[in-house]
Symmetry: C2
């Protein structure tokens, strides 16, 4: 095989995949090569543009470290992450919808009983918020002892893992109780900017896009026998709900953060008065009968 | 814009490109997003596979440094580099065909008059070879004073720039004379392996492909008023001509390296006897009337 031109080259490269041991890998690579070549042909990619692409990918790799995953961010802003979520998390009827994991999950977060205060040791203050709700199955029955991995950005719009001075902050694994109920204290999420000092920031500027994500709290909710859900709770009224830089907003995931002015309730819950309250239920589909949602180990991305 | 599913997401991401200032960049990004999403949909990309991709790209970026460009190598083995050559270098009738630049071009190589000995200071010996020929225009007329950037791997299959102990070796900018004639002394190229200790090596193994390139000498031939050509001369009879890891072989670029046993000729040329000889003419098309071939600055890849 030699003497390829733009019309024969793609088939030649695909033919070279014939000895791929894993048939699924062969399928994925075949599609990848075809689309990569089709892209280059469709736009008539010039050498200068190809080389800009090489430099962009190289810089994106160089930007990655144990705290920063620029390729996940790139996947996020190109809508690929959300596409993969859409392809893999068909929401079972009545279950909480999934959305992007994002690059800021961290293993080893502290574990708490329901009622925990995630503001403990916080380096920044925010709007005091009491989050409470239930973990339910899709038929409305409480699921006992579910685990909720919760994380969100600090008041300055960056996550604890991005901040060398922060330990785990506004982050923890909260256990729901035997009745499926959970509660924790945190701050009201604020909208923030994705990291924009790298190649992805350049890309956003070159395409005339802002870098903002609407305010949200992340949650991964897990219980034995149920499909895990990786999701967000967005804040109702946020100005960026319709232009999320990573395309992750779902109507069903927008929560109402309400102002509570009640000295009695504040006292009962151990909150200052007034305070903000979010009531939010998560609903999980049973594992049986459908393909289990597999979870990746996100922090491996920082290996 | 929110609430995207696998059917609506691609249009949403493309719509976000509407404010891209540069229309060509918008066109390229639109095609890229469409093909990226179509690839994910076509194979039903799983989260595990997506994450393997993220890790692969990250590792590829980490492998790049001032001596190694793993993304160019990746582009080479996926046939993308050769596709870009095919799209941008339609060979004018009668002109030397172009092929991949590869990642081992280096700026600042020593300049020589015709007759130069590129074996000077070589850290490894090879098969002594005398290369001679002419630089001609497509109508067969000699082009005076053309410049030939020449480089090739050493006998151990690696390039000088890959070897911390080597200076410029088997590499130089040779000037053709006023009659378009050039000559230089070097070693006969040998087939070699592309670097396989990184992610691209893993990819080659996973797809059951070897890592070899057929023996070749690189040349970039330039003359004022003519289209520059980036090309190779391959060695006739090489076992890898039909399975070049980077798909770069063209029939018209295979040269005959002949054994010469003639004490007189050896003496006249300043070669040992016997020696190997390659006679090779390069043919350049005039610049006028066609789009000039633009040259990228390859060593910028190592910035």
């Amino acid at each position: 095989m030699r003497q390829f031109n733009e019309d024969t080259l793609t088939d030649a490269v695909v033919a070279r995949l014939k000895d791929t041991e894993n048939p699924r890998f062969r399928q994925v690579m075949t599609s990848l090569v075809k689309h990569l070549h089709a892209f280059a042909r469709e736009v008539g990619l010039t050498e200068e543009e190809w080389f800009e692409g090489i430099k962009f990918l190289t810089a994106t790799g160089k930007m990655c470290d144990d705290k920063r995953q620029e390729f996940i961010l790139l996947s996020d802003v190109l809508g690929l992450s959300m596409m993969v979520v859409a392809l893999n998390h068909k929401t079972p009827p009545g279950a909480t919808e999934a959305t992007v994991l994002g690059p800021f999950f961290a293993h080893g977060a502290p574990e708490f009983e329901s009622g925990a205060d995630l503001r403990q040791g916080a380096t920044m203050k925010g709007e005091d918020t009491y989050v409470t709700g239930r973990v339910l199955s899709t038929d409305g029955k409480p699921i006992p002892n579910a685990a909720l991995d919760i994380w969100q950005a600090k008041a300055d719009g960056i996550y604890d893992v991005q901040d060398p001075n922060a330990e785990f902050e506004l982050r923890g694994r909260v256990k729901a109780d035997a009745k499926g109920e959970f509660a924790f204290k945190s701050y009201k999420p604020k909208f923030y900017s994705v990291p924009d000092d790298g190649p992805v920031g350049e890309l956003l500027r070159a395409t005339g896009n802002h870098k903002m994500r609407p305010a949200h709290m992340h949650a991964i909710v897990s219980a034995p026998g149920y499909q895990q859900v990786i999701t967000h709770v967005f804040v109702d009224g946020d100005p960026y709900l319709d232009s999320d830089a990573v395309f992750a907003v779902k109507d069903s995931l927008i929560g109402k953060y309400s102002k509570v002015d009640s000295p009695e309730e504040a006292k009962r819950l151990g909150m200052p008065n007034p305070f903000t309250k979010l009531e939010w239920d998560f609903r999980l589909a049973p594992e049986s009968g459908v393909k289990a949602r597999k979870t990746i180990a996100p922090s491996d991305a920082f290996a």
